[in-house]
Amino acid sequence: MKQLSLEKLNDLFALIGQTEALYLPVDDAAGQAAYRRWQPGYTLSKALNTVRSAKDFFFPQTENLVDFKMQGKSIEVIDPRTEQENFVLFGVRACDARSFSILDKVFLADPVDTYYQSRREHGTIVTLACTRPEETCFCTVFGIDPAEPAGDVSCWIEENTLFMKANTPKGDALLTLAAPLLSEGGDDAVAAQQAATRSVLARLPLAKLSLDGMGGESMLKLFDSDKWAELSQACIGCGTCTFVCPTCQCYDIKDFNTGDGVRRFRCWDSCMYSDFTRMAHGNPRLTQRERFRQRFMHKLVYFPANNHGEYGCVGCGRCLSKCPVSMNIVKVAKALEGEVK
């Protein structure tokens, strides 16, 4: 375990920021946390989590895939990518850290998504342990321990000290870079903080959320449940839940007419939208009921059915706090629980 006095935190950021692009949560104009590229004068946000999740760094909201340039009868195909720079993502919470492994299962499976892969390879993830979880947090239901977050480096902030531990070769490299500022020690302080955090975690109102019966075994039963009509009745189909979610992974590919060619880009899509997976005959999910069902079936049933029981949710609570009508995955899971008993 390495440690650093918080007074020197900015020196640490400056040191890392000199060598690599460093991103960290800072407070935005509306007082909420957002990842920004570090520059002198920025301070780490005290918020528990960012509104937008850390998936942005690997799976950005919009991304150019390929350019086609037309000249007469010839078409030039241009890869718009430039060399991906190395970057460090500081202050990622345990839930978002787990979301990367869920996204990996989608984007790194054959055929590998090289856009995503390149960002994953160039990013170093520095996580920060949570000490004050919210009532909306239910990461522990998925076996995530916010007191011992994953990532290349794990950090804890206790009183006036930052504690750091490397978990991977990338993490070792980062701590070697920061070595001039770090000193040894802190195991006891970290252990004490972890014990305190875990006692709060045990008291979280959603800590005992049961997902028994979810997953592939009851697929049709859940699909056909008459609960969906009631659950989706207030949903306005906005897609907020999908855009703030760290594990939502659907995208659309669109062409933009540049005048002398085509720019093909992808952007986040949402199963809540009327044109999601639209084909020649229209959207296969005719009403909001089917679209709404898709989001939750994907996370609680289809994803685990295809991925050895791993759910497509990390319990970050973002959809709980941001849905305009207060509908969310917890309410859905509780309503469906009775269906499979």
């Binding site: 919009t62 979880p133 109102p205 941001k322 009508v325």
Partner: protein
Amino acid sequence: MQEMMIAKARELLKSGAVQRVLGWKAGEFAYDVEPAVFESAQELEKSFVYNDFCGSNLSKYLIAQSRKEGKTLVFLKPCDTYSFSQLLAEHRIVRENVYAIGIPCQGKTDGETLKGKGFTGILSAQCEGDTFTVHTLYGDKTAARADVLPERCLNCKSKKHMIYDELLGEDGEVLDSHRFDMVEKLEKMTPDERFAFWRGELSRCIRCNACRNVCPACTCEKCVFDNDASGIAQKAAADSFEENMFHIIRAFHVAGRCTDCGECSRVCPQNIPLHLLNRKFIKDINELYGAYQAGEDPDAKSPLTDYTMNDAEPGIVYHRGGNQ
């Protein structure tokens, strides 16, 4: 009030006067109340609530509900009645199929507002008189009601119901609010400052469409932004120009019809003060065409869809300081 509402709803359901009730349903936590349709006394008893967290405006749901068989009972707060009345003026709701009950409101807060005020780990929250007591994972805290209300309620324009079939409790008055103060501030900025202000705000937009989808004035069957054939369909803003355009087009499209219910700003996950765009239009309409409040009178003609000889000429832009 909640008990009175449940009793009323039960009575109307039982007599067959209405077939369903549009109201609010209790959630997991104190604050995550959701709009819901109730069809039986049991459902009402189980989860119907009316408390300080019933901020969502139910009017827009009536577009679909009023097309169902039979009558729908809806509970409307004063500001919701403006939306209801405006939707009626636009022929979006089948009036005969709605039984509207006006209910009083002292301002509604929500989980996000409480969190913004520093309440974290909220386990329960009650309001007695004007004091909120919030029980959290990290201890109990209290706050005055006025300190935990969102902007739209602090600047409430009216406690008076514009339209209803029946009223529970007392009707209030149209209020003298300070809702245009911030617009005036923005007007006093230089164009560059104002541009910087709006770029700062709109650059946070994630194009989730919550503002549009919740808006009672946004009722197009298919929005241009969802229509590939329109040429401007977007799922994500490709650049800052598109980011601005979405909001400016939307503000123009609801100009003269926006009742200033404040739902757009309530639902925005990025806390973008969208109401300021709409209020600028409302203020301009008041100044250029005479005082007009959308949703006040379903039979009144909106200045923007009505022609009179006294209408402002386009040159007004320059008189008001616009660039030639």
